[in-house]
């Protein structure tokens, strides 16, 4: 396991997102209205829009470019659109965020 401490839960606004920069690209961390945290590559499967700039609702985010809706739990685009933004593991322990940066593709069928 390769858990990295990236900040605190309160650094991300509710219904908002912050970005972690990595050597292989940006990862967007999302915080839902009920304080769940999710991490996806900051690239929309449609045309690469920055998902971190979208509107977060429920456990979904709407891409700011052309309004695809991406499910935060799986990283999959909500039907009928098809595509997947790779998911990363995140954990919140005592308000501290840990992110697993991995090249392994998760959450995509």
């Amino acid at each position: 396991m390769n858990w990295i401490q990236v900040g605190n839960l309160q650094d991300i606004p509710r219904q908002g997102s912050r970005v972690v920069k990595t050597a292989t690209g940006e990862i967007a961390l999302f915080r839902s209205v009920d304080d769940q945290v999710f991490a996806l590559n900051n690239r929309c499967p449609h045309k690469g829009g920055q998902l971190s700039q979208g509107i977060v609702h429920g456990t979904r985010v709407t891409c700011p470019m052309h309004n695809w809706v991406i499910d935060l739990e799986s990283g999959e685009a909500v039907a009928p659109d098809k595509g997947c933004a790779h998911r990363h593991e995140v954990r919140v322990a005592h308000g501290v965020l840990f992110l697993e940066v991995s090249d392994e593709v998760k959450g995509c069928k």
Partner: protein
């Protein structure tokens, strides 16, 4: 073996003759060796556009239909400036004035018509012109430079267009007409009266029911005298008293002519080798003076010349429009009801709208539309198709829109479209794709079609068509949208319910409102949340806390996201007026930040493109420091107030449009509206600031300010409706604030003013803004009150650190185990 080509000679290088050649070349490009004679020295041009050339709205070059190269490319021998003066039918050849002789196997006569020059004494004086050719227009333009007064004889289509053009060229123009009202051949008395009034407002003077006795002048025209003895002065006199088919040449060749050259349904004259098309012909007793019928004739003639021999010309019904910018008028068919005919009338003097439809046996026979002509083509189609209108009778006067997008018209026209017809231009979706998606995936609603095919998912202008395809494909199953539509899948509530619900529930934030209205999702979605945020903001100015998480990124950070994830920034340029100091500041900032693109926007300001998000606060800080107010450049809020230079500089300016524009922008900036809101102020009716396609447009006139509302220059262009005229700048500000407030309070989120007005009607808006003075003052007060809380500069706040988290990364992970914060 190369068969010897047949020779086709065309007399007349005008609209009908050349259109026939175009049709012929499409069908059979190698059939003939073609020679064209044209008396005019120009290549084939669009005569219709002479009026815009005269009024200065176009240049001659824009009217050329086929340039010299077209003739070359199609191997057509063209002789311009050559008049044919003899047709030798025995030898099958034509001869020109200067002795050129060309033989033909087939001949096409397309000599058009001649203007009627009334046999009045003085007719031949210099300064008396016809209105037929570019040559005439050039002479008029020259005369307008030196002369002051023009008189136009004839108040028909041509006469009025000439008069309007000359008046725009700065001349004082009088129109002399035999009848009681202008354009009596296209308009009934009421319509004609409205037209006369509108033209008088533009400065034309009318002498109606008057006959001219003599044209005065010694070596050039100086005036004219009426039969009753009155004399008026003129430096230029234009004869627009009608046209007469140009048949002299045909007549002299012994071809049977009456009023025109008589042709059969195949466009052949009595000599079967000789065809004729255009204004010179008489077909089944009719002659025509408009292009639509000529084009139909051209098709038939070409079909026979190409030896297909299939088509017949059976006559045309015609419709007419007056090409005077800003005056909407349409007429078609027979508009004087005969015995047994019915008349449907709509007259709204306040709006300047008049519509008359004449019915016989439940079919449309004629239409006169004044002030609102959008439905002209539709009526014309109903007329030509002989559609039984019994079922739409109640609504027909209100136009096609009123039958709904999925009304009968739409349904039958999409049924006739081929599968390859592109329905959604944004996403390139054809009819066939939509139909198979509906069938294969069992789609049932517009939303489903949008989701699966993307048709109508972008700009939405094809929504009506898509709904019609749905209705068609599903047959009776599809019930068109109910009048109230839920905002989105998260709720049953509709947009219309929101303002009332918010007030009744006293809801002050989105979660409370959602709970009270039993939203089906915990925190809505990207469709409902921005809408609720808007309704709450309008309901509780000053009190409601804007929810940035319910805003799209462009409104959240006041910069627009680009395809590569960078942003564009547009500082406010008040009324489009800037200064060297401001320009220098922008230039320096752009240089410092290595801005890749600096673009002059369509809204009279300067766009800076390619800014990274991290850089935004810094850049804003610098712009704020240089004195720029900003933000809202991409908001559903006031965008720009475009102005022209107005009376301060322009020789035509009637008021200080620039100064007024700045005042209006200072008052309205920062206001949030259901959709973006654009304003413009033009200094005179030439309207260089394009005020008549803005949400709120001001056109300055000598006596005050015309106010126009509900324009849109975007996906579907909509010209504004004239609201009213006011006298002072203060009134303009009051009407502007009141109108914006009414729109904010009553329109649905994402309605542009154009859509809103189409729905509620101009009369409704007038009732609040024009008729009810006290109500207007209250609206204005509410507008100013809410402006107190919204005219903060969002860039300033952010440069000072507001929402700083928006702009910085949470962390940077350099290697897999190391974190820098």
């Amino acid at each position: 073996m190369n068969k010897q080509k047949q020779r086709l000679v065309v007399i007349g290088n005008g609209m009908a003759g050349i259109r026939t050649l175009e049709e012929l070349l499409k069908m059979s490009p190698d059939e003939y060796e073609i020679t064209v004679f044209g008396a005019e020295p120009q290549p084939n041009y669009n005569r219709i556009l002479l009026s815009p050339v005269l009024s200065g709205e176009m240049k001659f070059q824009d009217t050329v239909l086929n340039d010299w190269s077209w003739y070359e490319e199609n191997n057509i021998t063209l002789h311009v400036g050559k008049t044919v003066n003899k047709i030798d039918r025995v030898r099958c050849q034509v001869e020109t004035e200067d002795g050129m002789v060309v033989p033909y196997d087939r001949l096409l006569i397309a000599t058009g018509s001649n203007p009627i020059m009334l046999p009045i004494p003085g007719m031949n004086l210099p300064g008396v012109l016809a209105y037929r050719s570019i040559d005439d227009v050039e002479k008029m333009l020259a005369a307008a430079k030196t002369g002051r007064r023009a008189v136009v004889i004839g108040g028909g289509l041509l006469g009025l267009e000439a008069a309007n053009g000359l008046s725009l060229q700065g001349m004082e123009v009088s129109v002399v007409h035999l009848c009681d009202w202008p354009m009596e051949r296209q308009l009934d008395k009421v319509g004609g009266g409205l037209l006369k009034e509108a033209l008088e407002k533009r400065g034309l003077k009318f002498y109606l029911s008057r006959q001219t006795e003599a044209i005065l002048g010694d070596d050039k025209v100086s005036g004219l005298r009426f039969k009753d003895g009155e004399e008026i002065e003129a430096d230029l006199l234009v004869m627009a008293a009608g046209i007469r088919p140009n048949i002299a040449l045909a007549q002299s060749a012994g071809i049977h002519c009456e009023r025109g050259i008589v042709v059969s349904d195949t466009m052949q004259t009595f000599d079967p080798k000789i065809y004729s098309v255009g204004e010179c012909v008489q077909h089944r007793g009719q002659t025509y003076g408009l292009v639509a019928p000529l084009f139909e004739q051209a098709k038939v003639a070409a079909n026979h010349l190409a030896r297909y021999g299939r088509m017949r010309y059976e006559g045309s019904s015609v419709s007419a429009k007056l090409k005077v910018t800003g005056i909407d008028l349409f007429s078609a068919g027979d508009f004087n009801p005969g015995p047994g005919d019915e008349e449907l009338l709509l007259q709204d003097s306040a709006r300047g709208v008049y519509k008359k439809l004449v019915l016989r046996d439940n079919k449309l026979r004629g239409a006169v539309l004044y002030g609102e002509t959008m439905d002209g083509p539709w009526y014309f189609q109903l007329m030509r198709d002989g559609t039984d209108i019994t079922e739409m009778r109640e609504h027909i006067l209100f136009g096609q829109m009123h039958l709904g997008d999925s009304g009968r018209g739409g349904v039958s026209s999409v049924a006739n479209m081929p599968d390859t017809a592109e329905i959604c231009g944004c996403n390139g979706v054809c009819k066939g794709t939509i139909v198979s998606a509906i069938i294969d995936k069992k789609l049932f609603t517009l939303e489903e079609v949008r989701a699966h095919t993307k048709a109508s998912a972008s700009c939405g202008s094809c929504t009506g068509l898509v709904e019609a395809i749905l209705a068609n494909t599903l047959g009776g199953d599809y019930s068109a949208k109910s009048s109230k539509k839920a905002i989105c899948a998260c709720t049953e509530s509709a947009h219309q319910d929101m303002p009332q619900a918010i007030r009744d529930l006293g809801a002050k934030n989105i979660p409370d409102l959602m709970r009270a209205l039993q939203w089906k999702t915990p925190d809505g979605c990207h469709i409902c949340r921005p809408a609720l945020n808007y309704y709450l903001m309008t309901a509780w100015p000053g009190e409601y806390q804007d929810d940035s998480r319910s805003r799209f990124i462009n409104e959240r950070v006041h910069a627009n996201i680009q395809k590569d994830g960078t942003y564009s920034v547009i500082p406010r340029i008040w009324g489009g007026v800037t200064s060297p100091a401001e320009l220098r500041a922008i230039a320096e900032i752009a240089e410092r930040h290595e801005v890749p693109t600096v673009h002059i926007t369509g809204g009279q300001r300067i766009g800076l493109y390619g800014i990274t998000k991290e850089n935004l606060p810094k850049m804003w800080g610098e712009l704020v420091e240089a004195g720029f107010v900003s933000g809202h450049a991409y908001g559903k809020s006031l965008r720009t107030v475009k102005t022209c230079v107005g009376s301060e500089w322009c020789r035509f300016g009637t008021q200080d449009s620039t100064g007024l524009g700045i005042k209006v922008e200072k008052m309205t900036w920062g206001s949030w509206t259901p959709h973006k809101f654009k304003i413009a102020v033009s200094g005179c009716p030439r309207n260089c600031a394009e005020a008549t396609i803005k949400d709120f447009g001001i056109v300055c006139v000598d006596s005050g300010y015309e106010i126009h509302v509900g324009g849109n220059g975007g996906i579907k262009v909509r010209v504004t409706d004239f609201l009213c005229k006011v006298e002072t700048e203060e009134q303009v500000l009051e009407y502007c604030g009141a109108f914006m407030q009414l729109y904010r309070e009553q329109a649905q989120y994402l309605d542009r003013t154009a859509h809103w007005i189409e729905r509620v009607g101009l009369a409704y808006v007038k009732q609040y803004i024009v008729d009810d003075a006290a109500g207007r003052v209250e609206l204005y007060a509410r507008f100013l009150e809410s402006q107190r809380y919204s005219q903060d500069d969002p860039w300033k706040e952010r440069a000072e650190g507001k929402d700083a988290h928006e702009f910085a990364a949470l962390a940077t992970v350099a290697t897999k185990n190391e974190v820098q914060k």
